[in-house]
């Protein structure tokens, strides 16, 4: 199957969250991820896409296939120009929330993926990068 090695889609509605999940499921499955890792990546994407929709209203998800020294991986980048996160350390604490959510999105996504990085500037926006490597 010919799979483009990168792509992007905008996140600006509830339906876009579903579309983002479908895109991640398709790419992760085509990469040869096992069902549980596909589910982990799709669920993390759902949390991070919803963060964009809830806090920034609008943003973009980029995905990219990686060829690391230890094999193939999937990188997802969630970028917005929303309010930003004043304290990233705090936002990564389970249960910390500024919305009516459960405060599971960021720390949970960190546990579901192999790597998570956050770059955020208050008043400018937030970029969250997550990676998952294919198990051998």
């Amino acid at each position: 199957m010919a799979l483009p090695s990168l792509g992007e889609m905008s996140i600006g509605s509830e339906m876009d969250i579903v579309t983002a999940r479908k895109a991640v499921r398709e790419v992760a499955t085509a990469l040869g991820f096992g069902l549980t890792d596909v589910t982990r990546a799709v669920t993390a994407a759902s949390e991070l896409a919803r963060n964009i929709y809830t806090f920034a209203g609008q943003g973009v998800m980029h995905w990219r296939i990686l060829n690391g020294p230890s094999g193939a991986g999937l990188e997802l980048t969630f970028e917005d120009h929303g309010p930003g996160i004043p304290d990233v350390e705090l936002a990564l604490q389970p249960g910390y929330t500024t919305s009516k959510g459960m405060g599971m999105g960021l720390p949970g996504s960190q546990r579901l993926m192999d790597e998570l990085e956050i770059h955020s500037v208050v008043g400018q926006g937030t970029t969250v990068v997550v990676r998952k490597w294919r198990k051998k």
């Binding site: 339906m15 969250i17 579903v18 669920t43 919803r50 959510g101 459960m102 599971m104 949970g108």
Partner: protein
């Protein structure tokens, strides 16, 4: 794009809702409203939520199920979630999700057995 519809089916005195594989937020919110309205309309003893087709359970979905369970409990009913996939269960635990006080069983059959065994609603 329109959201998928939620159908609440009455089986004896129990409500049964089958969730689609990848429900959007509107569909999940509709589940809550329609289930509690159907509870009153049918004087049901509880709700069975069949999630055996569900591929993604995220925090929004889990929170809505937990809230719905509390609402149904306040109305005097039980909520049983049936048929969670192993990959969904693994992911839910790692993400830190719970379904509140909803009971969970392997299949709709077992959910109906459990509700049939429960004391009748006053």
């Amino acid at each position: 794009m329109s959201h998928e519809n939620i159908t609440v089916v009455k089986v004896r005195d129990v409500l049964l809702v089958t969730m689609p594989p990848d429900p959007d937020d509107t569909t999940i919110s509709a589940l809550q409203t329609e289930a509690i309205e159907a509870m009153e309309r049918h004087r049901a003893r509880g709700l069975v939520l069949d999630i055996s087709a569900v591929e993604t359970l995220d925090s929004f979905f889990a929170r809505t199920v937990a809230e719905t369970t509390r609402m149904i409990a306040l109305m005097g009913g039980q909520t049983i979630v049936a048929g969670m996939h192993p990959s969904v269960a693994i992911t839910a635990v790692q993400l830190g999700l719970t379904l509140g006080s909803a009971q969970t069983v392997l299949s709709v059959d077992r959910a109906l057995d459990r509700l049939a065994a429960a004391p009748p609603r006053r």
